[in-house]
Amino acid sequence: MLARAIEETGLPTVTVALIREHAQRVKPPRTLWVPFPFGFALGNPDDPPFQQKVLSAALGLLSENDTPVLAEFTEDADAPPVLLQASAAQADAANRDGDPADEVTALRGYYERWVDEHEGRTMVGLSGVPQRQFRGLVRHLQAFAAGEDATYDRAPEGVEPVRFLRLASDDLKAFFMEARFSQRPDDHDDELQRWFWSETAMGSLIASVASRLAEQGNEQAAWGLAR
């Protein structure tokens, strides 16, 4: 759809598509269908040769002008087809009784190491709250989940409370995942989701925040947090 709009201005495009059936209907001018899940358009993270193979296959289509062109990249990548969600992971929950704020403290060193070793790369930062203040953010989420009339003093101006809960929860998830990358470098995909949702008190807290949001009628925000 976007590709068509750009192509119509006179600029040739080539698109990576994840859902072949949609590409067949929408008909972007040139499409490389890849058999990877959402979030993995070029296959595997930290695998430049694999990414390059996909990228070269796509750019190679730019010389084809009998549009629509739909080519297929058939080599599989590593990510599993379906993401493990909270409800499935928590069905066999083990020990989630800790304090998420203490988990934040325990994971901070790992998180900071991840960021240091990756030239500052991090997906933490949407809420505007520095990670050093995440213990306070946890207290805010706990108060909200407990049904208190919670406000967070340092929320950025103009951000609605429900939106802030969303951004804050996402920052905490990213903090936990990136800490886990350096704590357990060999864990991927389902292992990470299972750990977060079934073994951490933070996973449990975010599921509780989602439940309270749903009770308040914010089903959409709840669905975006944990399902």
Partner: protein, 156 residues
């Protein structure tokens, strides 16, 4: 996406039912030079943007500019859906937005160069009329003004 026939029913139906807009044919603009001389642009719908830019919200049909010289550490994602696994992008943004790969291709002479700016939209749009009619064409025109010869588009 994995072949839909390999997915559980519910997931497969969710994919098939997501609005897609049918067309009978496709527009075609022809690239005027070989890839090795072409200036390539990167455009994504993965909800990425500069760290200090305004996060996208669901259904947001505006775009964000990401200069192609931005280090991977300067990019953050506000497409927070848990419909997909974000850990790949957390590990390496190139898995969706190959900013380093394109730079390397230009250094090796496999493409001519990259545009000064890349562009990013929010994904999972159910009714993207404004992108189709206004912001999408605007990005096309901006890229042509920058001298782009082709654009590479990536999804979430």
């Amino acid at each position: 996406m994995p072949r839909l026939e390999d997915l559980p029913d519910l997931t497969r139906q969710g994919m098939l039912n997501f609005p897609a807009f049918d067309h009978d044919d496709a527009p075609c603009a022809v690239m005027s030079k070989p890839l090795t001389e072409a200036k390539i642009a990167l455009v994504t719908t993965a909800g990425l943007h500069l760290r200090d830019d305004t996060p996208f919200s669901g259904g947001d049909q505006t775009y964000r500019v990401i200069p192609s010289s931005t280090p991977a550490s300067g990019i953050i994602q506000s497409h927070m859906s848990i419909g997909f696994d974000r850990t790949g992008i957390m590990r390496d943004v190139n898995v969706t937005f190959p900013i380093d790969r394109l730079r390397e291709m230009a250094e090796r002479g496999e493409i001519g160069s990259v545009t000064e700016n890349y562009y990013s939209f929010m994904g999972a749009q159910r009714s993207p009329r404004r992108i189709e009619e206004e912001t999408g064409p605007e990005v096309g025109r901006l890229l042509l003004e920058e001298g782009a010869d082709a654009a590479f588009l990536t999804p979430t």
